[in-house]
């Protein structure tokens, strides 16, 4: 089966690099960026199945990026990453069309499961 193509977007570069590597070790075709602007540019140039998107980022925040993604590509699924204890971002993200949201720090297996679920797949080895 074609691997899941994932774009990870978070302003913490070390987090992005490490998550991308761990997702690749689990068979996903993962790429990482640290700004919303770069993400909006890249998704026009290459196809992704799902975007993993941090909510709080400098400049263009995650919710704004989500809005733009949904305008450009309504069928492209987005999973939000949030460090906030408040459910407000999650509710707003869901209202804007995010598939789901995860609280940081994430459980990698749960993350892989959610990313696959976002495009109607089941992760390999998922229970």
């Amino acid at each position: 089966m074609d691997p899941l193509h994932v774009l990870v977007v978070d302003d913490e570069e070390e987090l992005v690099q490490t998550l991308v590597e761990r997702l690749k070790l689990r068979g996903l075709d993962a790429h990482g960026l640290t700004t919303g602007w770069e993400a909006l540019h890249l998704i026009k140039e290459r196809p992704f199945d799902v975007i993993l998107l941090d909510v709080k980022m400098p400049g263009v925040g995650g919710l704004q990026v989500l809005k733009e993604i949904k305008k450009m590509m309504p069928d492209l699924q987005v999973v939000l990453l949030t460090g906030h204890g408040s459910a407000q971002d999650a509710r707003e993200g869901t209202r804007l069309g995010a598939f789901d949201y995860l609280m940081k720090p994430v459980n990698i297996n749960n993350l892989v499961r959610i990313l696959h679920k976002a495009v109607g797949r089941v992760a390999e080895g998922a229970e």
């Binding site: 070390e14 490490t18 590597e21 761990r22 070790l25 709080k56 400049g59 460090g83 940081k104 720090p105």
Partner: protein, 226 residues
């Protein structure tokens, strides 16, 4: 942050405490996320080794050094949060205004970064003495900085300074760009003016177009009533 209520001092104070604790706890959580992924990656390597793959020891060592670096980073944020929590003192004593500005500028660094601003602090070597409530002073500095953020375009560099003068102590924030008219800027300035007035201080702001941003508050070194 909760809705801004400049006419309710308690609500303003709670908003200040909320902003500081939320910002620092957010940073701490980010650091935990990074540590979790880095240590998880080492765990992945060990798992792969158990299946016959060779561990890249240099790579693993680099990752563990990153874990250590992030632990230090997180400890720094916890220290700031703890110092802030222990310093919430409403009583009137001699304070070092330069130390307070440095403390709040460090705390506000993330808020500046989220708006794509650079915040620097240029402090004198010697303490700048002022007789006031540390909590009120911390709060005032926070309002000066966030007011400056509201007026600044992305990419601006803002410098916080403190000066001791014959009339009192002046805390200032100067930018390297002319100010912009963000929706929250006017309200932020009004809130700052209200706060400064309650502390017996005077706000001077230069939001004229074409000139770099400048916001300053002058406080008597020893207010008449304390």
């Amino acid at each position: 942050m909760s809705p801004h209520t400049p006419d309710n001092p308690l609500a303003r104070e709670l908003e200040f405490i909320e902003a500081v604790s939320a910002s620092l706890s957010h940073e701490i959580n980010n650091v935990f996320s990074i540590i979790k992924e880095l240590s998880g990656l080492v765990s992945d390597f060990v798992g792969a080794a158990a299946r016959g793959k060779t561990i890249d020891l240099d790579r693993t060592q680099t990752i563990l050094q990153k874990v250590e670096k992030n632990v230090d980073r997180g400890a720094g944020y916890v220290k700031r949060l703890n110092r802030f929590a222990h310093s919430l003192d409403p009583s009137y004593r001699d304070q070092d205004a330069a130390a307070v500005v440095t403390e709040i500028a460090e705390i506000c660094e993330r808020l500046a970064r989220l708006k794509k601003l650079t915040l620097e602090a240029n402090m004198p070597a010697a303490p700048v003495r002022i007789h006031t409530s540390r909590f009120e002073l911390q709060h005032l500095v926070f309002r000066i900085l966030t007011c400056g953020f509201a007026f600044s375009p992305q990419g601006a560099v803002l410098t916080a300074t403190v000066q001791d003068g014959p009339e009192g102590v002046t805390i200032a924030l100067v930018g390297d760009s002319p100010p912009t008219a963000a929706p929250e800027a006017a309200e932020a300035l009004r809130s700052l003016q209200s706060m400064a007035q309650q502390m017996g201080g005077t706000v001077r702001s230069d939001a004229a177009s074409g000139r770099p941003l400048s916001i300053s508050v002058e406080l008597a070194a020893r207010p008449a009533s304390h």
